[in-house]
Subunit: 328 residues, 2 copies
């Protein structure tokens, strides 16, 4: 393993996803002092993506006027099944060609500092647990709603990754047995009902059928460059069509939340990801009400459901926590 | 706590459910040497039910020509949220009036031996883990399909009961958002689609609508005393209507299995309970195929799905394991 410099006081957290790579530099107080984002370009192949992660980390260090000598380590969250001990991405359904990729080894060679790898949902819930949840609950479920829907589990005080490091795929829990087709090949998955992708598809399908929405005034009939923040603007301006679709997604998040509470009875469910960050005001009350209505009587007792304040930075924060913990 | 006699070499396992109480006497080799079953009669109130459990244990001891002096302890699985350390049933949605009941204390007073209490799903999965799974997997999900559907989780090698001892309520995972009404007040729960109660309701509704079935020849038009075993007989005699309903239930068990594999990625999923015991030949192939089709690519790798050989004795076996473990 590469050895950190004795003067190293910073760590870098990386959130590596199917569409973007985000790197954040953190100081000793776990404050983020700068970030850089690049697109993943997964279609260019495994090696090219690893080069892009390397460049993203270097750029973030440069952005914060530091050098790699001042970095103790890098923690990175990767999608799919990740073997943290071996530092390998075992498989990632959303990243073509990612099978048994030695991400830790390759990045350590490129960066010259120790690198630690975990599943992206797990790392995000770790970030929330350490940086945000003061009571340090022993059982936490993280639900991250973005392009897809990921999850992270802390059970009995420890990150839980299961037998083949593939636990936490809550986005592929079926909640509507005859529901819409999901990218994974299944039908009615939580992700196919409430992710950004699902919400945008429902909006675009509605517009094609002649539904009126402020969004076409803002972005044109093709709704190019539609973002979660646009939905918030539309709802604030009284767009009933968008409101209904977002409320329906929130209802499905509430049902998934109730399911996970019934199965795992955690102290706290933390919601994060880009969709929740942009639409917390619009979605959280519906999520809470649905979860309370749908959970078993008694199971909800004392259970909190909150939106993470870290928003889309949960992943890089968790990466920083992991790097700090492992290099201490 | 009551002290066991030094000559005590037997333990008693009790499966205490909403409709029946089953007590089994086990020797030092964890062999069941005799059982007694009585109905619960929950409507008679908490005290009456505790008297019935006491009587059931005494009768089982008498049945096996033993005395209580030869019993080291009693392990009991109870429905709902159970605090094993305090020995209390915190709440049991299917048992009216069961709220903060000191079951351990009351039974120890009646029986004069140490009593240990756990959730029924947890105790059943413990029984399967110790008596049946030779490889001692660290992560096991038990799915018990009977009158209702219960679950038990062994995660990272330990029974998992969650924050408020209410984990494992897998029967109330919604898998069909607009599905049939469930006894818990929710819609589309796993239990409302695949439990014995759900299967019988579907059959009775079909018969009312004029569906032809061998079952009415066997049991009359009202289908009185219908049992899971009758379904097996009907299917073996070529009853397409019953076959279709049982296959549909098995499909829903398969979907729930896939959901739990996606969320928790265990080594093994064990199916048990009266419905699986009676209909394993008819259901298991559909359950396996559906789970494989519906689980995330990669997540199923190395994961086993089996029907427990303990059948309806999983609960009393787990009770015996608990009693043996705690009195050693």
């Amino acid at each position: 393993m590469a050895e950190p410099s004795s003067k190293a006081e910073y760590v870098v957290g990386v959130d590596f996803g199917g569409t973007k790579i985000l790197a954040g530099v953190f100081n000793n107080s776990l404050e983020c002092i700068g970030t850089v984002k690049v697109s993943t370009k997964a279609q260019r192949g495994t090696d090219a993506v690893i080069e892009r992660i390397t460049r993203c980390v270097h750029d973030a260090i440069d952005e914060t006027d530091l050098t790699m000598k001042q970095v103790a380590g890098v923690g990175i969250g990767a999608p799919g099944a990740v073997d943290g001990e071996a530092g390998q991405v075992i498989f990632a359904p959303n990243l073509e060609g990612w099978k048994d990729v030695p991400l830790k080894k390759d990045l350590e060679k490129n960066l010259g500092v120790p690198v630690f790898v975990e599943n992206d949902g797990n790392i995000a819930v770790l970030g929330v647990h350490v940086a945000e949840l003061k009571s340090k609950p022993r059982n936490v479920i993280g639900i991250f709603v973005g392009t897809g829907i990921g999850g992270g589990l802390i059970l009995n005080g420890e990150l839980y990754s299961g037998f083949g490091h593939a636990a936490g795929e809550i986005g592929h829990m079926v909640i509507d047995v005859d529901g819409p087709k999901c990218g994974c090949g299944n039908k009615g998955c939580f992700e196919a009902l409430a992710s950004r992708t699902a919400i945008f598809q429902q909006i675009k399908a509605g517009v094609k059928e002649g539904q009126k929405t402020i969004l076409t005034e803002l972005l044109g009939d093709e709704l190019e460059d539609l973002r979660s923040g646009d939905l918030r603007k539309a709802i604030k301006r009284g767009d009933k069509f968008v409101d209904r679709i977002v409320e329906n997604a929130a209802m499905h998040v509430g049902i998934a939340t109730a399911n996970l509470i019934n199965i795992l009875n955690p102290e706290i469910v933390v919601l994060g990801g880009g969709v929740i960050e942009a639409l917390a005001d619009e979605m959280m009350s519906v999520i809470l009400k649905t979860a309370k209505d749908r959970a078993m009587p008694g199971t909800m007792k004392g259970v909190e459901i909150i939106a993470s304040k870290l928003g889309d930075n949960a992943g890089i924060t968790g990466g920083a926590v992991l790097a700090r913990r492992e290099t201490k």
